[in-house]
């Protein structure tokens, strides 16, 4: 499931990890490793995530109140910390998604520009 970083994997854009984590936990409570797996799974293994930066990001989001955590049992009956989206996090996710869509729309418009149009 977890692959060595291959040539075709892309590095994550600066500042987008928080957004991806919010999206991942919006689909249901997950532990830290689960967040990593879900992002990789949805991205079709296209994204390389620095695993070490995952936890500081999770803690930052929890500190901001966007996600909350609870200790529970993992699939293989181990003690694990599960994260889930709060109401504040849901609002944040909506906001950030919209911002991202607008930004990517603008950037792709710019990149599509042809010489005669400019």
């Amino acid at each position: 499931m977890v692959q060595e970083k291959s040539e075709k994997q892309m590095d994550l854009l600066q500042g987008t990890l928080d957004l991806l984590i919010l999206k991942a936990v919006s689909l249901g409570p997950l532990h830290g490793y689960g967040v990593l797996l879900r992002i990789q799974q949805i991205s079709g293994e296209e994204l390389a995530i620095q695993q070490g930066s995952l936890y500081p990001a999770l803690y930052r989001l929890e500190h901001k109140g966007a996600i909350s955590s609870e200790w529970g049992e993992s699939e293989n009956n181990r003690k694990a910390k599960f994260y889930q989206l709060t109401a504040l996090g849901r609002a944040l996710l909506g906001e950030e998604t919209e911002k991202w869509n607008r930004m990517s729309g603008v950037i792709s418009t710019i990149l599509r520009a042809r010489p005669e149009e400019a």
Binding site: G32, Y33, H63
Partner: protein, 658 residues
């Protein structure tokens, strides 16, 4: 569109506040369970590694290979944990804690230096705190009534030839004219009844009287107040009732009184059965109807409360003065103080103008104005601190004391800064090593400042304790045996805040220069020096400036102290014109209702004989005003054989006994 934006904006702010609240909660939670946090971070990362390794094994790796690869993929956990703590906003706190731990170690390692620094700081901060508490109380404290800032005291100014010839109360005459805060009762009544520019006009007068409470006679200060006094000031009793406008009529409600919290405590043991009890005041039986709240000091001053409050209409009964005894109907003697509250819809100058016109009318209506008499002019002054005599007397000495103790504190700062600078030279190696190992200069600066602040906080804590113990020292020094009266200096949050601010400022003041020079020097040179090299005394500009500053300041303080001592010596050796040793001074106040005019003179004659007969008494001398007791009396006199001529008497200067 704009509506939507507004909504967006509003929800953004709401979300921001919610996030802030969440951060605060998270912070507190983490602070409360710091150990649990560390354990949880450990468990979480271990779980991650375990799962990762399990997945790698499932992908076909051997267990040792999988464990190694998992660790590589996750990266250094120590660093991650540091980042996680930083995510929770803990880094600053952790650094502060380590700074403090280090600073504590440094303080302990040089106990001599620390003792000198802390004790000199404690002395300076303690002196500043004690004097500030006195200054705050005497110069700035307001009456303990709601909205004291609205209170305005009525005064009048004259040119020295005003129609007011007879006064009982404060009176100042200077080349610029006369000024006083007392009015006649008829004038007050007319002002009050026609007043539309202040909320209400309240009259009061303080005098000392004899009270016999439960069989024991004592000298008490009594405030005689108009019926609207409590209502106008907005003061409620802590027990019983207040004096009402209906009490202005003596025959209706009888002789009633409120007592102060102090009397309630001292003579009645805070018993609620005090209500209805009867005591005698200058031979008149008076019923206690209420107890004033603690902290309420009447309208005259902030420092001390009168012991007893009675309706002003009781004056002829308990405190007769002058020829007829009744001052309520006397328009010639001016004696009551008048205070009012500003109204929101009337400006101060409007109020003053309106009251001036009314005073003029009231004076003309109640007194006969002779030719050559001028009219007193009304002035509204701040009444939030009562008549504030004390600050007129003590303002200068207190300002001087404040300035001097401030200089002492500054000198203590300079001394310690210099000591730290000298020590800083010895610590160059240590700091160089830390710089070389990657510590930032800001971090070193912070570390050195933390050490200074720790010293100053230690000094501040000890100083605060000394200030607390010494807060009554200055009032005790200023009081004399003739006038009883202990001013109590409250030690409140304001004083604590002052001490804390001074402490922190002190720490920064003496710490910043050494810390700056400590953190900014060429480390390469210091590292090259061997341990045997004796570190040179820091020869920077700041060191030399500090020494010059220290010497200048010390000289100034020594000169001032010398001058003070000289003045003190001179004061103790003033020739007062009579032999001042083995003198006993005391005052007798026979109640006027029992010892009427003539009778009181005979009483003093009898007292004089009896005292003279006592063994050990060499001689006895009665006096209307005792020497050098700060009392005074003004009066006109006529040479024998001359007839009283009102026209020439106007403007003649009365003789003054002091």
């Amino acid at each position: 569109m704009s509506k939507a934006e507004n909504r967006d904006h509003g929800s953004g702010i709401r979300a921001g506040i919610r996030s802030l609240a969440a951060q605060l909660r998270s912070w507190l939670r983490v602070l409360a369970h710091r150990n649990r946090l560390e354990a949880e971070m450990e468990t979480e990362l271990a779980f991650h590694l375990e799962q990762l390794a399990a997945d790698l094994i499932r992908a076909g790796q051997s267990s040792t290979e999988a464990a190694r690869n998992a660790r590589v993929a996750l990266g250094p956990t120590l660093l991650h944990k540091e980042d996680m703590r930083a995510s929770l906003g803990l880094r600053l706190l952790d650094e502060l804690r380590s700074d403090l731990r280090y600073a504590t170690r440094m303080v302990r390692r040089s106990p001599g230096f620390s003792m000198i620094a802390v004790s000199s700081l404690a002395l300076a901060i303690g002196a500043n705190t004690a004097i500030f508490s006195v200054a705050k109380q005497i110069l700035y404290a307001r009456l303990d009534v709601p909205h004291a800032e609205q209170l305005r005291m009525l005064r009048w100014n004259g040119d020295g030839k005003e129609a007011v010839h007879s006064m009982w109360g404060d009176f100042d005459s200077s080349p610029n004219g006369t000024t006083s805060s007392v009015f006649s009762y008829p004038v007050y009544k007319q002002l009050r009844d026609r007043n539309q520019s202040l909320q209400t006009l309240i009259a009061f007068k303080e005098d000392s009287m004899n009270a016999t409470v439960r069989g024991a006679a004592q000298r008490v200060v009594v405030s005689m107040v108009s019926g609207n006094f409590y209502e106008g000031l907005g003061v409620r009793p802590q027990l019983g009732r207040v004096i009402y406008p209906s009490d202005d009529n003596l025959s209706a409600s009888g002789a009633v009184a409120l007592i102060s919290d102090a009397i309630w405590e001292r003579d009645f043991n805070r018993s609620p059965s005090v209500l209805g009890q009867i005591f005698t005041l200058n031979q008149t039986a008076v019923t206690i109807v209420g107890v004033n709240p603690a902290g309420f000091t009447g309208a005259k001053n902030v420092q001390q409360s009168p012991d007893i409050f009675i309706p002003l209409c009781m004056q002829p009964l308990v405190d007769p003065k002058g020829q007829e005894g009744d001052l309520l109907n006397s328009s010639s003697l001016w004696w009551v103080n008048v205070v009012g509250r500003t109204r929101l819809d009337v400006t101060e100058s409007q109020a003053q103008a309106a009251l001036s016109v009314q005073l003029d009318a009231a004076v003309r209506a109640t007194m006969s104005i002779e030719s050559g008499d001028s009219m007193p002019r009304l002035a509204l002054v701040d009444g939030s601190r009562g008549l504030h005599y004390t600050d007129q007397i003590f303002k200068k000495p207190i300002d001087v004391l404040m300035a001097l103790t401030g200089l002492v504190l500054l000198l203590a700062c300079a001394n310690i800064a210099n000591l730290i600078l000298a020590r800083g030279a010895a610590r160059k190696r240590e700091i160089s090593v830390r710089l070389a190992m990657g510590a930032g200069r800001a971090r070193i600066l912070r570390q050195l400042l933390t050490e200074s602040l720790l010293l100053s906080v230690l000094g501040g804590v000890v100083g605060l304790g000394m200030g607390y113990l010494g807060r009554n020292l200055i009032p005790d020094l200023m009081s004399n045996s003739w006038e009883q009266g202990q001013l109590n200096m409250p030690f409140d949050w304001g004083v604590f805040g002052f001490a804390a601010t001074v402490t922190l400022l002190t720490g920064v003041l003496f710490g910043i220069a050494p810390a700056w020079t400590g953190a900014h020097f060429e480390m390469s040179n210091s590292l090259k020096e061997t341990a045997q090299t004796t570190t040179r005394r820091h020869k920077g500009l700041s060191g030399r400036l500090l020494v010059a500053f220290q010497i200048a300041l010390s000289t100034l303080l020594v000169v001032v102290a010398g001058l003070f001592l000289r003045s003190l010596y001179a004061l103790n050796h003033v020739d007062v014109g009579f032999k001042a040793d083995n003198l006993l001074l005391f005052e007798v106040n026979p109640p006027a209702s029992r010892y009427r005019a003539g009778e009181d003179v005979r009483l003093h004659g009898r007292l004089e004989q009896k005292f003279a007969a006592l063994p050990g008494v060499e001689s006895v001398a009665p006096a209307w005003q005792a020497y050098i007791t700060e009392g005074g009396s003004n009066g006109d006199f006529l040479p024998e054989g001359e007839a009283f001529d009102p026209a020439s008497a106007r403007g003649s200067s009365p003789i003054q006994l002091a």
